[in-house]
Subunit: 429 residues, 2 copies
């Protein structure tokens, strides 16, 4: 963890270093992924089988390629009632939030009598990647699958690795609750490639979303264009802006809720009170020791954590914009004033009773958010990621007479005579 003071000389350079630090994967991952993707494109099922044997340690032809819908239903029935209630609350709230994202079609006739519009439709099929093994993330299943189903995707495919054949019932239960249509027990770059290109067994999809390790993220990046993807995902981040009226234990817990994800995660506190900064630092150190995830949290906090003292909290806002964090907590009495000064963040948590973790699970907004400063230009996962817009246009003869000559002039100026002729022929009649 580093401590910075915005009022001290050298801050600007130190903050630049923090902003520009790369915490993402290397060239060797890209090369590995290229080999895997090419093999799956060329050899289909055989390549998927071989990579699964190698990386996940089981033979698909023995363990089975698919997990049946009936297995998902069984997993849901067997769920602890409290957990089932929590998942159902999450599902309902996530669905309600995402329903409001559904875009409206347009269809208007303008003053020249020209009809113009846009029509939104769901993609035919989407694939959701869900990490497997011991770390089970039913919340990821909900956050990826529900927007797809709200969009109207008819074929929703889930892929999830089952290392050594081990299936996670929580993930299956969440798939059942979210309405997933097909589940394949495959993972890694090979699963992303199978979804993108299709194989003998697996029909291709149009969009692939969902979190994964560096290989999965790189596979999505390489296959972008063959399929649509949600985003290039990197390590998780939280920025907390907090004054001294917060309980330092709460703030410390919030910082650790990102640090425990991965050694490459990043947690940053901005505060205007040096004593509060000290108290949070002490609370973080104490709380880490109590966590089952302490090894990961310690590595993350030591390597990437930061506490930054600012002269006043509004002074934090332009610095927050430089970081463009995935998650931003504004833990102050009047968060609205600060929120108005921030331009770049994936998701913002307003006030002292809105810990980021409540948004990770049940509040409703999506927890799939831009990382690595990408909130400058990209947005969290939404219904729009599973839809596409077709624009349309209808002119009658009178409309073409009005605007066609301008098209002829511009086509001529661009040296495209067939463009000009296709309009001019119709003007002549």
């Amino acid at each position: 963890m580093i401590r910075l003071n915005a009022s001290e000389p050298g801050f600007s350079t130190a903050f630049d270093t923090l902003v520009n630090a790369r915490r993402e994967s290397d060239a060797h991952v890209a090369r590995d992924v290229q080999v895997i993707v090419t093999a799956v494109r060329e050899q289909g099922d055989a390549a998927v089988e071989a990579f699964t044997r190698k990386f996940d340690g089981h033979a698909l032809n023995e363990t089975g390629w698919r997990i049946e819908k009936s297995d998902c239903a069984v997993a849901l029935k067997g769920l602890d009632p409290e957990l089932r209630g929590a998942l159902e609350l999450a599902r309902d709230r996530i669905a309600a939030y995402h329903e409001k994202q559904k875009p409206a079609d347009s269809d208007t006739i303008d003053a020249d009598g020209i009809r113009l519009g846009a029509r939104w439709r769901a993609v035919d099929a989407a694939g959701v990647y869900v990490p497997g093994g011991r770390a089970a993330y039913p919340s990821s299943v909900l956050m990826n699958a529900i927007p797809a189903k709200v969009a109207g995707v008819e074929r929703l495919v889930m892929v999830t690795p089952t290392p050594k054949g081990e299936i996670n019932p929580l993930v299956l239960a969440a798939a059942e609750l979210a309405g997933v249509d097909e589940v394949w027990r495959i993972g890694g770059a090979q699963a992303v490639a199978a979804l993108a290109y299709g194989t003998g067994r697996i029909k291709p999809v149009d969009v692939v979303t969902g979190p994964g390790n560096a290989w999965v993220a790189e596979a999505k990046r390489q296959l972008y264009g063959v399929v649509g993807i949600d985003m290039v995902a990197g390590p998780s981040e939280i920025v907390v802006v907090a004054d001294a009226d917060n309980d330092p234990e709460w703030t410390a817990a919030d910082l650790l809720s990102q640090a425990e994800h991965d050694p490459t995660s990043q947690s940053i506190l901005f505060t205007d009170d040096a004593g509060f900064a000290d108290a949070v630092a002490a609370a973080v150190d104490r709380q880490i020791g109590e966590l089952a995830t302490k090894d990961v949290a310690r590595q993350s906090w030591d390597a990437n954590g930061a506490i930054i003292l600012v002269p006043d909290l509004p002074a934090a806002c332009p610095l927050v914009d430089r970081l463009a964090p995935e998650h931003l907590e504004l833990a102050v009495a009047d968060p609205e004033a600060l929120f108005a000064q921030v331009r770049h963040a994936g998701s913002v948590f307003l006030g002292r009773y809105t810990p980021e973790a409540v948004g990770d699970y049940v509040a409703g907004p999506n927890h799939v958010l831009p990382t690595g400063r990408r909130a400058r230009f990209s947005s969290g996962l939404s219904v729009l990621d599973f839809m596409k817009r077709t624009s349309f246009l209808a002119l009658d003869e009178a409309g073409l007479q009005k605007i066609g000559p301008a098209a002829v002039a511009l086509a001529g100026a661009e040296g495209l005579p067939a463009h000009a002729r296709s309009v001019a022929l119709r003007l002549r009649r």
Copy 2:
């Protein structure tokens, strides 16, 4: 050009071949681009200068790196009045269409007293790539720059190569009309890399859009994630669905309006009338000979053109969906019935008086559209490409008491104790 008949045996295989034919760039382009992008990231201006000298044949330190706003104003003043009028009509109509795309923010309080919302903001800076040299595309300047300005982008940067130093005044005039803020006389993969990473002279941008050759398209693909991009663009395509009541000369002109773009462009006609198919084929052959662009159009039509006879026009719709074309003309008396049966197309042109070229220039919808079957999952360029959404959430103590316990349960099940604690600490008070 190939002729297919949907009623004949072997059609399915032949159509599959047509759908799956790759017309895009090769691995050697990817390798070239990787070298250029890495050099620009590491050496900045010096690399841009060297590649410009090599590929564009002029020395930026002599010809100048920038084109001043005053030069754009001069170009606009010097424009032929008819052309200026055409550009202004285009600008106004494009702006009017894109204004309607501006997304609404949301901010609601639900039944549990939990505040949920989403806020849209423009990116800070966007870069528009405009091809240069003899082929000048002022329409591309408008189609890329206007959505950015409608979105509210404050710094809009245009890059355009000036081979051998030659500047195209039409492009500058369009930049002035569209409100471009900075113009740099650079192109190729090096220009895209300079926009993405920034150099000593050029500040980085957040989003890069605009058409270009295979190297430009590949540079955008490789830099996706460092910046936002509009899409991976491939060769242009048109599909025309037409009955025998059309003038074959009009249909032929429409097919050629795509064929003249590039030897890799593709033009496909679906019709239910063999005689009309023959007439269009003959008209295409005759019209090609009259075009200044005949060499390109001939190559495209011979290599990639197709005329497909279907038993009736509704039978064309599922085939159109397989192709998911960039442009689709429905040249029939009642286009609505066919439009309702098509799911995948970038932009649709309804009726006999709506040639695609009128949409390329002046109608209003964007002409930057998904190619290479990507209309299955992606959309034409829009205001949304220059904006991003920040979700937000605000709970009070009562709200957290309602939904917090479910978050604690799910965090526990996912093995993330710091997530659980950040909520549980606040529930205890």
